[in-house]
C-alpha cells in the first residue's frame, strides 16, 4: 500500500512557497546555461572539428558511465537501494588488473598477442570486481536487509571507504599508468582507436547482458525479483541467489568498465572510483533508475554534456579555466535531476512500489 507522494507543486492544493523558490532557482540556472551557450557559439572560439572531438570523447566517456550505471540500476531494481560502494567495485577491478597488465607488458606477451591480452585483462578485471561486489553484498548488505533504510546506506558508505583505503594500503597511494596497447594507438578517421575499443567493448557487454537477462533462468529470476520480490519468492524463486547474481553481473560490468576506463584515461589510483561512481549514479537516475536502457542512454547523455558543457556553457562568460568546472556540471545535473525529475528521462520501472 504505497502512499502517493505529491510529485509536483501543481498537485498540491496551493502553491507551496518552498517549491516556487526551487523552481525559480532551476529557471535561473537554465537561463545561465542558455545565455552562456549562445554567447560561446556567437564568439565562435571553437571549430566544428573541436566540437566533434568533444562529442566523440563524451560518448566514449559516457559509454563507460553507462556500464557502471547498469550496476547501480540493476541493484536498485532488485533491492530498492543504492549500492554506494559500486564506484569502488569499479576501482578494484581496474587497480588489480594494472598488475596483470604490467606483467603482460614486461613479459612481452602484450605486444605479441594484443587482442588475447586485452580480453584476458577485461575478464580478469570483471572477475575481481565481481568477487568484491558479491563480498560487499554478503557482508554489508545481506545481514541488514529489511532494517531501516538508513542502516544499509551507512554500511554502504562504510564499505566504500573500507575498500578505498584497503586498496590504498595494499598498493600505495601513487598513480599507476597502464601500459599502452600498441594496436590501439593512433586514430581511425575522427576516433581514437582506444575510443573505438571502448564502443565495441561496451556494445558487446550490453548485448551479453540483454541476452543474459532475457534468455537465461537466472536472468528471469532477477527480473521476477525486480518486479515483485514477495510474489517471486512465493513462486519459488530463490531471492537471495537472484540478488547475489545481480551484484555479480553488476560487478562484472563495473570491472570491464574499469579496464576500458584505464584504456582511455591511462592512469589509475585508489580514489578513481569516487567520481565515475557518482557520475554513473547520476546517469542511472538520469535515465530512470531501475530502467536498463535508461541507464545506457543516461550515461551517454551525461558523458556528452560533461565533455561539451564546460566550453559551451561557460566560455561565453569569459570564465577562466572552465574545464575545472566539469565536475560541477555533473554534480549540478545530479542535484537538479533528483529535484525536478527523480523518475528520470525514461521513467523508472518500479511498478507500484513507493519511491525513495
Amino acid at each position: 500500500m504505497a502512499i502517493a507522494t505529491p510529485r509536483s507543486f501543481l498537485s498540491g492544493r496551493r502553491l507551496e512557497a518552498s517549491q516556487l523558490i526551487v523552481w525559480t532557482i532551476g529557471a535561473v540556472l537554465l537561463g545561465i546555461v542558455f545565455v552562456g551557450s549562445v554567447l560561446t557559439l556567437r564568439a565562435g572560439q571553437y571549430t566544428a572539428a573541436q566540437w566533434r572531438d568533444f562529442i566523440v570523447f563524451g560518448i566514449a566517456q559516457g559509454s563507460i558511465y553507462a556500464l557502471i550505471a547498469l550496476g547501480y540500476t540493476m541493484v536498485y531494481g532488485v533491492l530498492r537501494m543504492i549500492n554506494f560502494a559500486h564506484g569502488e567495485v569499479f576501482m578494484s577491478g581496474a587497480m588489480t588488473t594494472f598488475f596483470v597488465a604490467d606483467y603482460l607488458n614486461r613479459s612481452g606477451f602484450l605486444k605479441a598477442h594484443p587482442w588475447i591480452s586485452l580480453i584476458a585483462l577485461l575478464l580478469f578485471s570483471g572477475l575481481v570486481s565481481m568477487t568484491i561486489a558479491v563480498l560487499v553484498e554478503r557482508i554489508a548488505y545481506r545481514p541488514l536487509r529489511g532494517a531501516p533504510r538508513l542502516v544499509p546506506l551507512i554500511t554502504a558508505v562504510g564499505a566504500s571507504f573500507f575498500l578505498q583505503y584497503t586498496f590504498r594500503g595494499l598498493f600505495g597511494s601513487g598513480v599507476r599508468a597502464y601500459p599502452a596497447i600498441p594496436v590501439l594507438q593512433g586514430k581511425l578517421w575522427v576516433f581514437q582507436k582506444t575510443q573505438i575499443a571502448v564502443f565495441v567493448g561496451v556494445a558487446i557487454t550490453l548485448l551479453l547482458l540483454l541476452l543474459f537477462l532475457q534468455r537465461t533462468r537466472a536472468g528471469l529470476a532477477i527480473r521476477a525479483v525486480a518486479e515483485d520480490r514477495e510474489a517471486a519468492a512465493l513462486m519459488g524463486v530463490d531471492v537471495d541467489r537472484a540478488i547475489v547474481t545481480t551484484f555479480a553481473v553488476g560487478g562484472f560490468m563495473a570491472g570491464i568498465a574499469g579496464v576500458l576506463y584505464a584504456l582511455v584515461f591511462i592512469q589509475v589510483q585508489f580514489f578513481m572510483g569516487f567520481l565515475p561512481g557518482i557520475k554513473a549514479f547520476t546517469a542511472a537516475v538520469l535515465g530512470g533508475i531501475g530502467n536498463l536502457p535508461g541507464a545506457a542512454i543516461g550515461g551517454l547523455v551525461l558523458g556528452v554534456i560533461e565533455s561539451v558543457g564546460p566550453s559551451l556553457f561557460f566560455d561565453g562568460y569569459g570564465i577562466r579555466a572552465a574545464h575545472q568546472l566539469k565536475d560541477v556540471i555533473a554534480f549540478t545535473i545530479l542535484v537538479l535531476i533528483l529535484i525536478f525529475r527523480p523518475t528520470g528521462i525514461l521513467g523508472e520501472r518500479l511498478g507500484g512500489e513507493e519511491r525513495v
Binding site: R142, I278, L325
Partner: protein, 557 residues
Amino acid sequence: MSLAALRRALFIGLLGGLAVWHLSLVGLIPAFAQRRLIGETVTFSYALLVALFALVAHATGRRYAGALQRVAWGTLSALSTGLLVLALALIVTQVNLRQIFLNATPDLARVLTFGAGVSPAGVLRTILIAAVAGVASGGLGATPAPWGRVSVFAALATLLLGLLRDVLGPILPSGLVGFLYGAAGLNVLGAAVTFVLFFLLFALRWSLPGRAGTGRIIELVPSPVRAPVTRLAVILFLASVPLWAGLFLSNVADFVGFYILMGLGLNLVLGFAGLLDLGYVAFFAVGAYTMAVLTSPEIGQRFTLDFWVALPIAIMLTVFAGLLVGLPVLRMRGDYLAIATLGFGEIVRLLVLSDWLKPYLGGAQGVTRIARPQIGPLRIDSPQEFYVLVLFSCLLAWFLSIRLRDSRLGRAWFAIREDEFVAQAMGINRVTAKLSAFAIGASFGGLSGALFASLVGSVVPASFSLLVSINVVALLVLGGMGSLPGVVIGALALVGIPELLREFQEYRLLVYGIVLIAMMLFRPAGLLPERIHRRELEEAVEEVREVAPAEIAPGRS
C-alpha cells in the same frame, strides 16, 4: 554435532586469519610495530594480534555453556588463526611480493612471528601465544558475570595508558611518570600496578548492583543540588584543561571540539530528524570561508572585519546555506537525499577550488592571515586560549541541542524520523520542521568552521573534502545517532585518538569504514544509545535477524 562444531571453529578461525592478512597487507600491523605499550616487548602490533586471537576464541566459545567446551573450541579457533598468520609470514619471506603489495616485507614476517622471524622458534612462539590467548579468552568467558568484562576492560585501559605515554608524560606529575613509564610505554611494574588498579575500579563499578559504586559518592551530596553540582564539576574540569594540558594536547582538544560541534549539528539533522546529510562539510566550509574572506586582508583589501563581527555573519550565512540546501531536498528521503547532499558538498568544494572564483576565495592556495579573536586588550592566540572559546561554543550547542530535543520542534523531528507521512497526517508541518533542522544544524557547522579558520589562521579547499562529512557521520554512528553523549565519545574516539597517534592518521578512513559497517551490524544504536532510538533500531534489526535470509523482508507492503 561435533563435526559442525569443528567446522564452525575452523571457519571463525579462518575469518580471523583473513582479518590478520588484511590488516598486515594494508600496513596497519607493521606500522604499529614501533609503538611500545608495555616494557620493551609488548608493541601495539602484538597487542592487536593477541586481541584478534582472543576475539576469535571468544566468538567461537561464546556459543557453549560448558567451560571446557568453551576453552577447547575457542583455543582451536585461535590456533587456526595462528596457523594462517604463520602462513602469511612464510609467504612473505619466501616470495617477493613487494612489487605489488607494498607491505609484504620481511619486517612484516618478523612482526607476525612476535619478533622471532620465520624459524622453528618463531613458529613455536606464535602457536604458543595463540593458544594462550585462546585459553585465556575461553576461560574468562566462562567466569561468572562481571569478571570477564572487568578483566578485559582493565587490560584495555592499561594498554591505552601505555599508548598515550607521549601525551600524558608532560601532564602527569614527574614522580608518577617515572614510576609508571619506561623508555617507551609503561614499564612492567607500572603496567602491573595500573592493571590491578583498573581491575579494582571496574570491579567496584560492575559488581555492585545498580551503579552503586559511583552512586555512593554522588549520594553524599544532598539531592536538590546533586544535578547542578555534578554539572558544575564536569564544567570546571573541562574548563581546567588548558591549565594542565600542553600546547599539543590543547590543539587536539580544539579539533575534537570542532568535531563535537559538527557532530551536534549533524545530530539534529541525522540523529533527530533522520535525514542523512553527506554534504555536511559544505556548512563547515561556508563558515570557515566566510570568516576567512571577511577578516583576511588578502582578499578584498578594503574590508577586514573584526572576528566578533565576522562570526555572526558567518553563522547567518551558514543558516542561509542550510536553507538553500534544505529547500530543494525537502521531498527527498533516504538514498536520494544522501546523494543530493553529497553533490552539494562537492559543488561547494569544486567551486572554491576553481580558478574562476580565485579572486574572491583564493583558489587552491586558499586564504591566509585570518583574524584571531580579541576581547578588549586580550588577544586569543594560542590553542590553550582558543580552547575556552571552543568549550563555550560546545556547551552552548549542547544546551541548545537538549532544549531542542525536548521542545515541540524536537518531537516533530522524531516523528518525521519515524514516519514522514504519518507525521504529516498528525499535523506536523514537514517543510518547517525539515528546514529548521537543516538551518539550525548548519549553524553549528558554520560556527565550527569559523572557529577552525580563525585558529588555524588559513583555509585551503583540501580541508573541506567529503572525508570531513564521512568523519562526522562515523562519529555519530559510533556514539549512537541522536545521542548527545555519544557525539562526545565518538569525537574523542574517532578524532582525538588519530590526532594523538601519528601512525594512525593513514589508516583513519579504513578504520572509519570498519566502524560504520561493524556498528550497523552489531550495535546499530551506537555505544551510548539514545533512549527512544535504541528501542526502535534494535527491534528492527532483531526482526530481520529472526527472519531467515530466504524469506521476505518485513514491513515493505
